[in-house]
Symmetry: C2
Subunit: 364 residues, 2 copies
């Protein structure tokens, strides 16, 4: 199924990623129909149609599917049953398998290890009693995480010497969890890559990410890593894309750590089957944005060039940081993006700011 | 009246310029409400609200005004009465005077001459009988134009030796006209400039334009003119913006001609009180796009930087040229824009393509 201009893309989810996907679709002469349970949300304003309904409302889902040509999602916690239901009516890209792998930290880590990729050591924790033996194997400095529904540091807790394991397990809800050995990393990075319907693959340059209280604060590109590490990141992204027979943009979060000899090595943290906050710099900073790249891929169109336009820095506006919008607008070298959220709650991503710096004649 | 993020901009007109204005508003966390008589049109898909009604429907206009915070327009043939009606309810930027001056070729030329700017020699032609005496004064190689509603070469006719003047006058509808001496130009150019609510002014670099059958075919920047001509263009734009106490983006179409000594000189052809086709290159090619610049200005916000990102070329996709969309997408250095028009009629602007080339270290 290859879309023609004028076709409609259905997007599950109504946040800022959906908003920016819909804007990229508009640039290419396509329409979007947003499906989400929220009555007010950032993506609706950029779409030509909306369905406000829950992800298990099969009648609403069926009507939605009939009104669109292809379906995608802008967050990875869409219920698998919803995507499986829709996939019987219209192509869903990326498909349910990519979603399933990324929704469950155990499935994700198992998938990554199956590809021969390095991850933190991990053990499943089905009950609190399993935690002690797991820690005995992977070491006491570790992170306990719920298998599902974690994001921006939610659903996880650090385990140190002397931590009350039962209390931590209870605090995270007592459900299925995973415990991961703590990775002492030099920096965090991410690679945003795409695969077309025909199987072509491209990756944007490696992004270096700084987090503040588990929320992405700042991304800069190029990442300050050895060239072979950048190449390795793109290679492992291609491996994951191929293994999932993936169509669309995939983000892979990485730790840049050191091996025994002190050389840099990559440890995969997690994958997101969607456009990603650490790829926002591509709007101004790359020949094709991650949003347009995703739209091209799921439309069955050729992927765009990922050439970078300079050295790029992206800073998130979290909560009341967005109150500085007027000062930011007055800085000539800054490009302001606001997501249309009217209430600036703490920890809420309200917008971002991008700066592109010249990098010298060879990298223009 | 300064807008806050989340505010709503009302746009009169529903074409591709409105669509791209609405996309720029989305980037900045603003909403758009489109008002136009067409039931289907490019701008609606990018807006959070639409009113489909005629420009003389005062009840619909009043409801529209009440639902928005500021009003602008994306084409210059909005009836003055409509804008005057709306201006009693909400700020309209740019205001009715800018619209009036640009709607009537006689008022426009008179305004430009009043600023001391060079235009083609011109005479009003109220009836066919006035044409002969006017030509005796300005010369026989001339262009007869309707005073109103001309665009893309519509409403004008070339007068040569031996032309049947009465027949030409009749063919253009017999209404109020203007006859202009033909300007033998080296090239056509345009300057896109903006003025903020506080009176700050900036201009994008001069664009050089090539037309095909009176429709813009190709724009490239920088224009191949002497540096003092580029400066003169920006200076005359500032003069016009000041004189009109203008708020928003203004486009001025220019001829680059030769004076008696063979030096380049500028002759103003016409002004458009809006974003302009020859400014589409700014989306990829400048720090701030003309669309964001207009939104910033009418929102009462600081203007953005106009720094150019390289040598830029923009090619319009007219009619069935847009059928080449897939080949264009496959060219990595080309950025494709489609306007969501489903029917490719001859002469219809369906989209455009931009390419940015490196220009060397000084102009990064």
């Amino acid at each position: 199924m290859i879309l023609a201009p004028g076709a409609t893309i259905g997007i599950l989810g109504s946040g800022q990623l959906g908003r920016m996907l819909a804007m990229a679709a508009l640039k290419l002469g396509l329409r979007c129909h947003i499906y989400a349970p929220e009555p007010e949300a950032p993506a609706y304003d950029a779409a030509s149609a909306r369905t406000v309904a829950s992800f298990d409302d099969e009648a609403a889902l069926a009507r939605f599917a009939e009104s669109v040509d292809v379906i995608t999602y802008e967050f990875e916690n869409v219920p698998i049953a919803c995507v499986e239901f829709l996939a019987r009516l219209r192509p869903v890209r990326p498909d349910a398998r990519a979603l399933a792998v990324s929704q469950d930290r155990l499935a994700e880590k198992t998938f990554l290890r199956g590809l021969g990729l390095a991850t933190a050591p991990f053990r499943p924790v089905d009950a609190a009693a399993a935690l002690g033996p797991a820690l005995a194997e992977i070491g006491r400095l570790a992170v306990l995480k719920t298998r599902r529904l974690g994001y921006d540091g939610k659903g996880q807790a650090m385990i140190r010497e002397g931590s009350d394991l039962e209390a931590l397990h209870r605090k995270l809800g007592g459900g299925p969890m995973i415990v991961e050995g703590f990775v002492a990393f030099d920096c965090e990075a991410s690679v945003i890559a795409a695969r077309s319907l025909e199987g072509a693959m491209v990756a944007f340059d490696l992004c270096e990410n700084e987090h503040d209280r588990h929320i992405l604060a700042r991304t800069h590109v190029p990442a300050r890593v050895a060239p072979e590490i950048e190449t390795a990141a793109k290679t492992l992204a291609a491996k994951a894309l191929e293994a999932l027979d993936y169509v669309g943009v995939l983000a892979i979060e990485l730790f840049v750590a050191r091996d025994g000899a002190g050389a840099e090595r990559l440890v995969v943290n997690e994958i997101a089957p969607r456009v990603h906050n650490s790829g926002h710099w591509t709007i101004e900073g790359a020949q094709t944005s991650q949003f347009e790249q995703h739209i091209r891929a799921i439309a069955g169109w050729p992927l765009g060039a990922t050439a970078r336009r300079g050295r790029v820095e992206m800073v998130n506006l979290i909560g009341e940081q967005a109150d500085e919008w007027r000062d930011i607008l007055a800085q000539p070298e800054q490009s302001l993006h606001l997501y249309g959220k009217l209430e600036a709650r703490p920890g809420r991503k309200m917008g971002h700011v991008t700066r592109v710096f010249p990098e010298g004649p060879r990298n223009v």
